[in-house]
């Protein structure tokens, strides 16, 4: 195609402006990573003497911090690193599995749960509670609730009456995220303590999986569509079970958007600080709380021991690099028509 001369000229100046702006913005984005990178190879003196920008020119790089991070008694770093990887991977896997199952159910099986069934569940739970915690003040409360439930069921019948439709369930899921996490921390802490899961990888895995499930469900839904495809129906006719249709037919067909959601969930989990800091401060510590603990612990000493800064930088680089790789993969999937152009 031939463009008129003036438009080519215009596009040239336009392009220069665009690329200049992009370059500046990239610099802003990349600089912090660069800064952590070079700080991690600076010696004590170079940090103390003020800003130094170029290795070999401004200062003589040293691998002392990296050696320290990898070899010396930095068990905590390795611990945090491993914990982060295990917790984020396992919880992402769990979130994706249950998220996919939930979306499959909501879009394919059209569960319509009678409110009376919900009431029956309430009845069961309250009876269970009465048996479990025989507290003086509680039983009559539960008894009133139980009676109301029985009345409701008697009025409605088991399978008739108003239904809990999929879109209500989906809204309920997202509504559970309206509460700020800070309100969940106390009950979570108490439950963790009661079950003996406090400060374990398993606790974080379960909590993250639960916390990210609504997001996963909402993000996965577009890829699942609103009804079964004919390929699924063919498998169903041939006798395949719903789980095998989901995992061997449907998920392979939508693996790109599903993986993109998975990577997103992974990043959410691996960077989570608040819940991790409160629920797993010790042997199950993950990278974000560990980094923060390093900073606050050492703030007072930093002026005296600037090389701690380079240790910290090395740790940050170590944490960010795999995430960067993940993000680039994610970007490839997002750019690859998976999520946007289905």
């Amino acid at each position: 195609m031939v463009q008129p001369a003036h438009s080519r000229l215009k596009s040239l100046t336009g392009r220069i402006a665009t690329y200049t702006a992009l370059l500046i913005w990239s610099g802003v984005c990349v600089f912090p990573i660069y800064w952590f990178g070079i700080t991690s190879i600076k010696g004590f003196n170079d940090i103390a003497k003020g800003p130094r920008y170029l290795p070999f020119v401004d200062f003589q790089p040293t691998l002392a911090s990296w050696r320290f991070v990898f070899t010396d008694h930095q068990d905590n770093l390795r611990l945090g690193y491993m914990n982060s990887i295990i917790v984020a991977s396992a919880s992402t896997l769990l979130t994706l599995t249950f998220g996919a199952m939930a979306v499959y159910g909501l879009t394919r099986l059209r569960p319509t749960i009678p409110w009376s069934a919900v009431a029956l569940l309430g009845l069961g739970l309250s009876l269970g509670a009465i048996i479990l915690f025989e507290r003086a003040a509680w039983p009559w409360c539960f008894a009133v609730f139980a009676l109301a439930s029985i009345f409701f069921i008697a009025m409605r019948g088991w399978a008739r009456g108003p239904m809990l439709e999929p879109h209500l369930i989906a809204f309920g899921l997202i509504a559970s995220r309206i509460l700020p996490p800070v309100t969940m921390i106390a009950p979570l802490y108490v439950m963790a303590e009661m079950t003996g899961l406090l400060d374990t990888q398993l606790l974080l895995i379960l909590v993250y999986a639960a916390a990210n499930l609504p997001a996963a469900i909402w993000l996965l839904q577009p890829a699942f569509g609103t009804r079964a495809t004919e390929a699924e129906e063919a498998a169903y006719l041939d006798g395949a079970s719903h789980p095998s249709i989901l995992f061997t037919i449907l998920l392979p067909m939508i693996r790109q958007p599903a993986l993109a959601v998975g990577l997103l969930i992974f990043l959410l989990s691996v960077n989570e600080y608040f819940l991790a800091a409160h629920l797993a401060p010790g042997k199950a510590i993950t990278m974000p709380p560990w980094l923060v603990s390093q900073i606050s612990m050492r703030e007072a000493q930093i002026i005296a021991e600037e090389d701690e800064l380079s240790h910290l930088s090395a740790a940050i680089v170590l944490m960010v690099l795999p995430l960067l790789a993940f993000s680039i993969t994610l970007q490839r999937f997002l750019g690859n028509r998976a999520l946007w152009q289905r």
Binding site: T229, E230, A231, E233, A234, A235, Y236, L237, D238, G239, A240, S244, I249, P252, M253
Partner: protein
């Protein structure tokens, strides 16, 4: 393999609506054991919907469905023992052709060695042996369709459901597959319901043809009867190529009257608004004086073994199948003659055939 005895299938007052849209109205249909029944209808007439209700993928809004001596209306699809070819092929994109074809056996946990033999047999039947390692995206539309067909025939179910399984094949392969399907169906004796909008396919394959229009069963009969004894105007015009000639008029005690002319028919009775029908191959061109239907030659087309003559008569067109050496100039006046036993009369208000 021993011939399957075949099971009867029946739709009993089956209705289907999607919201307020009525797609099937009171479908009553009995398919005999081992019968090859073709559901023929225009696009959107409800053919696929009928198959989906029989397969259990869609629930009927009302009515019962039976397979064999079982009422399967509330039975899950996998317990109905059917296999189906989908209009859209419905292949598994991430599985190879062999894995696609073998899937029904894999689900049933058939031993691997047995699966492989069956896959090769089924593939051979649809001429796919050389493509077993490919993925669906590497196949043409016709090849995909044959994979879908092979996946359906790898099992010996009680009922085969086929939704336009040959629509994407080229003419030669379609002819071959048609013969192959017919032979297969005869040798297996499996009750088959076959959906198509192609009347040649319907006529050549079917024991009986069910013609569906707007969710209403128009006629259910053998191909010959459908052609020779259409139950109503719709069937008469739908079947036959070129379509039946239609002339509007009135029936007066067995005599058809139009535009000052009249024609004796075998039909008894009267109707203020009637339609006369006659097939192009039952007509001949004669001198205008000898015929009630007359007009002027509009075009002649040499088709090969015959010539199609279009005659313009009172603003409408009549088609006549004439001998291949027929010659006439456009504008010449001509008469169109047909013998009385080839005349069909329909009541214009109901569309029903008058006899």
């Amino acid at each position: 393999m021993a011939a399957n005895p075949g099971v009867p299938v029946s739709f009993d007052h089956v209705q289907k609506s999607f919201g307020s849209v009525r797609v099937l109205e009171e479908l009553n249909l009995q398919v005999a054991p081992g019968e090859f029944l073709v559901l023929l209808g225009a696009s959107g007439s409800g053919k696929t919907t009928a198959l989906r209700i029989l397969s259990g993928l869609e629930a009927a809004s009302a009515g019962r469905v039976r397979i064999g001596d079982r009422d399967v209306t509330d039975v899950l699809p996998k317990y109905r023992d059917i296999s189906m070819v989908f209009q859209s092929y419905a292949l598994y994109p991430h599985k190879t052709v062999a894995e696609n074809i073998g899937f029904p056996l894999k689900v049933r946990k058939v031993p691997k060695a047995e699966q492989d033999i069956a896959i090769h047999d089924a593939a051979a039947q649809v001429q796919l042996e050389t493509l077993l390692d490919r993925y669906p995206r590497q196949l043409s539309g016709g090849q995909r369709q044959r994979v879908a067909l092979a996946r359906a025939i790898i099992r010996r179910p009680s009922v085969f459901l086929m939704d336009e399984p040959l629509s994407n094949l080229d003419a030669k392969l379609r002819g071959h597959m048609r013969a192959e399907l017919k032979h297969m169906q005869q040798s297996f004796g499996i009750t088959t319901i076959y959906v198509t909008h192609d009347q040649v396919e319907a006529m050549t394959l079917a024991h009986r043809v069910a013609i569906l229009e707007k969710g209403i069963l128009q006629q259910l009969d053998t191909p010959a009867n459908i052609y020779n004894n259409p139950a109503n105007l719709f069937v008469a015009q739908f079947i036959g190529s070129p379509p039946m000639n239609i002339v509007k008029g009135a029936l007066d005690n067995g005599t058809f009257r139009m535009q000052g002319e009249s024609l004796a028919t075998h039909v008894t009775g009267s109707a203020a608004d009637a339609v006369l029908g006659v097939r192009p191959e039952d007509c001949s061109i004669t001198a205008p004086a000898n015929a009630a239907l007359k007009g002027e030659i509009y075009t002649t087309e040499l088709i090969g073994d015959h010539t199609l003559v279009t005659v313009k008569s009172n603003g409408s067109f009549l088609t006549v199948k004439a001998a291949k050496d027929f010659v006439a100039k456009p504008g010449e006046t001509a008469g169109v003659a047909a013998s009385t036993e080839h005349l069909y009369v329909f009541d214009a208000s109901t569309g029903n055939r008058m006899r």
